[in-house]
């Protein structure tokens, strides 16, 4: 079977950052592979290693800069990647449907049997693309999967969905399917030196909307990001000042007042 993994290069902000307009200043951002997608990549690579998947293809919507991150996924064992980009994605705030437009076209081309996607992206935290994609392409789906047991012969994925409060739902999902992968599903590997070398020779196909038969109008977003600001601190915490020793002494007094360590 063929597995398609959606991956995203996400930005994160350091402890100190400046907001410029409706975004964080470029110089305050660091880019990395989305944490959830790292688990999705690992799941796909494990399926390949187990002989279940014949090919693992990565797909991303991202600018040229994202290739560095995508190459890390290739170094971990993804066979090849497709990078779709259009300036329309850079200037606007893409909605779920426009991302799904892109992935739908890629699915039509690649015809995967299984799509693995992170539960959410660490930057915008929407958590919706995988399930919306499943609906569009007529695949079954399961969201927030933290255990996966694939029975390719039976055409089934036996998954656990991680519900709130320490409860897991055991679900049998018909293939083809989109599964959104929760952190903790597996232990994502580090790329080996050999993997990193091999990744240099793997293909990242730069793809335009035109290549996919789409136009900028197709991916027009119904959402506009109109403002970004730091939330007002609601903190009424008593901050304990001083060096580590002084702070520890004061904290020890507070803890003893609460009856901690009294025995």
């Amino acid at each position: 079977m063929k597995v398609l993994v959606t991956v995203k290069e996400v930005a994160s902000a350091g402890d100190d950052f400046t907001i410029e307009g409706t975004g964080i200043a470029e110089s305050d951002l660091e880019y990395d592979l989305n944490e959830w997608d790292d688990y999705a990549v690992e799941a796909a690579v494990q399926l390949a290693e187990a002989g279940v998947a014949d090919e693992v293809v990565g797909v991303t919507i991202g600018p040229e800069r994202a290739e560095e991150t995508i190459r890390m996924a290739l170094a971990k064992g993804v066979d090849r990647a497709i990078r779709v980009w259009d300036d329309a994605f850079a200037t606007g705030f893409p909605d779920v449907a426009s991302k799904v437009d892109v992935f739908e076209a890629v699915v039509a081309e690649e015809e995967p049997d299984l799509v693995l996607s992170g539960v959410q992206a660490a930057d915008d935290g929407f958590g919706a693309t995988g399930v919306a994609l499943a609906e569009r392409i007529g695949f079954e789906h399961a969201a927030v999967v933290n255990h996966l047991d694939l029975d390719a012969d039976a055409g089934l994925a036996n998954v656990h969905r991680e519900l709130e409060g320490g409860v897991e739902e055991l679900t049998e999902v018909d293939l083809p399917a989109v599964l959104t992968v929760q952190t903790g599903l597996n232990e994502p590997r580090y790329a080996s030196l050999r993997g990193i070398r091999q990744a240099q020779r793997k293909e990242i196909a730069a793809t335009t909307l035109d290549d996919l038969g789409l136009t900028a109008e197709d991916v027009e977003s119904a959402l506009t990001l109109t403002s970004m600001y730091e939330p007002e601190s609601e903190s009424d915490a008593e901050l304990i000042e001083g060096d580590a020793g002084e702070a520890a002494t004061r904290l020890a007094t507070i803890l003893r007042e609460k009856g901690v360590g009294a025995s």
Partner: protein, 315 residues
């Protein structure tokens, strides 16, 4: 003018609290749009659930008695039937694990722009949703085009709807659903030797501990304080501590007398699990860490300096 459809949530025979919150959020939206609020109750003991949720502000309740537990295919079919039979054009669902299993599909199916994880919204000639980005570091406003949309709301951000309503309760029939995603059962995770929910004092460790080897330090602190050790999600995901030690949305909800958070930034999923603690103390090197927003006492500093000093105080 258009109506709003809110969707209730239940699990294993019990309504989840967020059901009353989607009613509240749905009522606000219905007022803004000048329409009625419909509530869909799908699967399980729909009559009991409908009675319980017949609160002030609900104009009509639609029950779909198909299946016992959550199944996104049933929810999708039920919501489609209710949208079809009413003037509802906006859908409000919980931003729960199950909400995220059907709401994006519903939005896609009906061509509704979707905004997830709303913490607030305003309506002024159009909907503007407040939501966080970059792991709660910033808040954003997202404007939605048009008056047809789907929204998922974060749990605990709206007051639960109260009072007694007198909405008519109407059963809605749907064709039986051959689901391609079948629930085989449930599993409680996090059993084992220790129940962190029973502890009076918790020392809880997060990503700031950096390496598995450093766990010894917080274990030593827990021992010195006579406390139980718990953790935030990344520690458990890394396999450094078992699942039964995890505090948060997908782990345990704890309410100890004292909760000492060490190197925990305080992501919303974690805070959900410990905000009911009597006294919250946070040690974190980032003064902007959201954990300080709910802490009673805070030390902004390097845990590798503060924790050894604190251990010494109790030896």
């Amino acid at each position: 003018m258009s109506d709003v459809l809110a969707v209730a949530e239940h699990r294993r025979g019990e309504l989840r609290d967020v059901s009353a919150e989607v009613i509240m959020a749905g009522r606000e939206l219905a007022d803004a749009l000048g329409g009625d609020l419909h509530l869909a109750v799908v699967a399980g003991d729909v009559d009991t659930f409908a009675d319980e949720l017949n609160r002030e502000g609900v104009d009509a309740i639609h029950t779909v008695a198909e299946g016992e537990e959550f199944d996104h295919n049933v929810y999708q079919a039920a919501i489609a039937a209710v949208l079809d039979g009413t003037d509802a054009a906006a859908v409000v669902a919980p931003n729960s694990v199950n909400g995220l299993d059907y709401a994006p599909a519903v939005a896609e199916q009906h061509g509704l722009p979707l905004v997830t994880d709303a913490i607030d919204f305003e309506y002024d000639d159009g909907l503007t949703v407040t939501r966080e980005m970059y792991g709660s570091k910033v808040e954003t406003s997202v404007a939605v085009e048009g008056d047809r949309f789907a929204l998922t709301i974060r749990e605990g951000e709206w007051e639960p709807a109260a009072g007694e309503g007198d909405a008519p309760i109407e059963p809605v029939a749907i064709d039986s659903v051959e689901s391609g995603a079948r629930v085989a059962g449930f599993e409680e995770v996090g059993g084992g030797d220790v129940d962190i929910a029973d502890a009076d004092v918790l020392v809880s460790v997060g990503r700031g501990i950096e390496e598995e080897d450093n766990l010894e330090l917080v274990e030593e602190l827990a021992e010195a304080l006579g406390a139980t050790l718990s953790a935030s999600r990344p520690i458990v995901d890394s396999g450094w501590l078992p699942k039964n030690r995890q505090v948060g949305q997908s782990g345990k909800v704890v309410t100890p007398d004292v909760y000492l958070a060490v190197g925990i930034s305080g992501a919303v999923q974690h805070v959900t699990g410990m905000k009911g603690s009597d006294t919250i103390i946070a040690i974190n090197s980032d003064p902007n860490a959201p954990i300080f927003d709910i802490a009673d006492y805070g030390i902004v500093g390097d845990l590798f300096d503060v924790v050894p000093a604190l251990i010494e105080e109790f030896e």
